[in-house]
Amino acid sequence: MMNQMHFLLPLAIAIPLGMGFILPLLGRKFTRLADVLANLTTASLVVLSVLLLISNVQLGKPAVYWFGGWQITASGTIFGINLVLDGLSALMITLVAVVSFAATLFSSRYMDQYTARGKYYGLFMLMITGMNGCILTGDVFNLYVFLEIAAVSSYALVAFGCERDELEAAFKYLILGCVASTFVLLGVVLLYAQFGALNMAQLGQRIASVEPTRGSILALLLLLSGLGVKAALVPFHAWLPDAHPSAPAPISAMLSGVLIKAIGVYAIIRVIFNVYGFTDQLGMTLMILGTLSMVVGVVLALNQWDFKRLLAYHSISQIGYVVLAIGLGTPLGILAGLFHLANHAIFKSLLFLSAGAVQYRTGTRQLDEMGGLAQRMPSTSRSCLVASMSIAGVPPFNGFFSKLLIIIACVQAGRWGFAIWAVIVSILTMASFMKVQKYAFYGKLKEKWAQIREVPLVMRYSMILLAVLCLAMSLLIVPGISAAVLEPARDALHQGVKGYQEAILVLLGSGG
């Protein structure tokens, strides 16, 4: 039965897509119904993604689903679109589901400050659709289409409050995002013009069959810079520090937690490892981009007093860790990078949610205006503390293990310089979050905050859920659990072009 699970694959896209069409129909009177439906949808996605994760482990090889039954022909012509579920996509889709569940739970009370709840959830669901589509697809043009769905809905969500600065941030994001999307499209066009294929496995096969041409290198360059903007790698990061803080808190959590990973980092590593094939130059490029992001992000974060903006800069920095580790190209490096990616999704969304909780009650994002909030908002303060310790790399929280693995991987690969940078950035991150804790939650309670209360129950539950996950994810370091979740994901990348092709082109011989 579990082996048939891949027939559920399109549901990961169809469920949020359908809800994305239905939820905007709900008007003002059905606000609570919209909350319930949205939460049910994300909960069902969590169940679905866990099922897919389990079935992937049991199957032991990637599952392929051809839309419309247009399977690959015996002569090897691919003319349909396929979905591919391997270890990496199973991991990513679970992350998206978990973070979006926490975000919808949080939204059900947080969004009381805004109007148009049905439309909000509609856009939210479309964003999930876009991310799931990107993660599962095995076709480059389809990747572009779903990337656009996720991006277009996120533009509107960033400006959901319609304030002047929010609109400005969203406009900046829109312009940069459109340029990036155009680059991606141009890259896809160039690939198609040269190789006559859009399927990633087939493209990989054809790219490998000839010497690297100017055209294919240019296509890679365009794809990397386009997707680099989506992933907010330095020097393509300019939009992120404006866009992520401007959005409503659950959306910031989604954007920083999963969006930049699903349509940015994931797409980049998919293209590099499974289409072009990993080379040392590409690895070096990734490592340099990663280290740059890591350092620049944290340095810019140090001087921030705006809570959410500080978190946004740390997102750039943490994504740098992920890209650096994956750029090493060693099995341990990839494992560590993916582990950190998963951890970052959890603790960064928790941080944004707790920043949102503080803003919900105090109405401010400035750290120096807060102070002593731990006395009035104990749950928020504790979950924020957990997340801060995770991101700062304090044992036994998940961030510690992934950062440790990254540093070990750097040393193992003989990249001492990068290891030292990773340590320095880690210390700076810790300093930055000690500042956050000191100014926001500890110290003297200010007079004007004497009367505020803890946030509503569902918002607390959502934060506690993520805080528990922050601790629980540490278990992924245990070999048995890692073998079920992280190692299939690592293998999907480490087996490279060949492994990915075999998954899809093996079906050729057996006739699917």
Partner: protein, 157 residues
Amino acid sequence: MTGMTVIVKTITRWTAALIFLYGAYLVLYGHLSVGGGFAGGIILACSYVIMILAYGGKETIHALPKAVAARLDSIGALAFLILASLGMFGGFFFSNWIRDIWPGQQFRVFSAGIIPLANIAIALKVCVSLFLIFFILASLRMTRKGDKIEFRSEEVD
């Protein structure tokens, strides 16, 4: 938006009908000749847009209120998704299950299974979408408060 002179209105009424017919033709014959849901839907939207221009917003909104348009937008998209999902009965998402049961005759309107139906769904979606976007942006009012310029849609939903 009060509308234009009676000459313009009369001519518009006739041309809008013709444009509408052409759009409908493109949609329904999309699987046989040039056209399809997107092209036809946009032309259908065009016929509404010239009505807005000639008659003014009030009259047109009477014919197709914004709330209804927003609903139709969702319904069109949903119809396409449902058509695709029903393909699950044929074994796959997007499989042409109607054609498996009832292939029809090639080069006739009633053929190709879900394709004409999908065209209609897309046309509905595209037409209403473009109508909506035109209507929202056309009813946008700019108010100047001191140095600040504010854009707000006119009517409240």
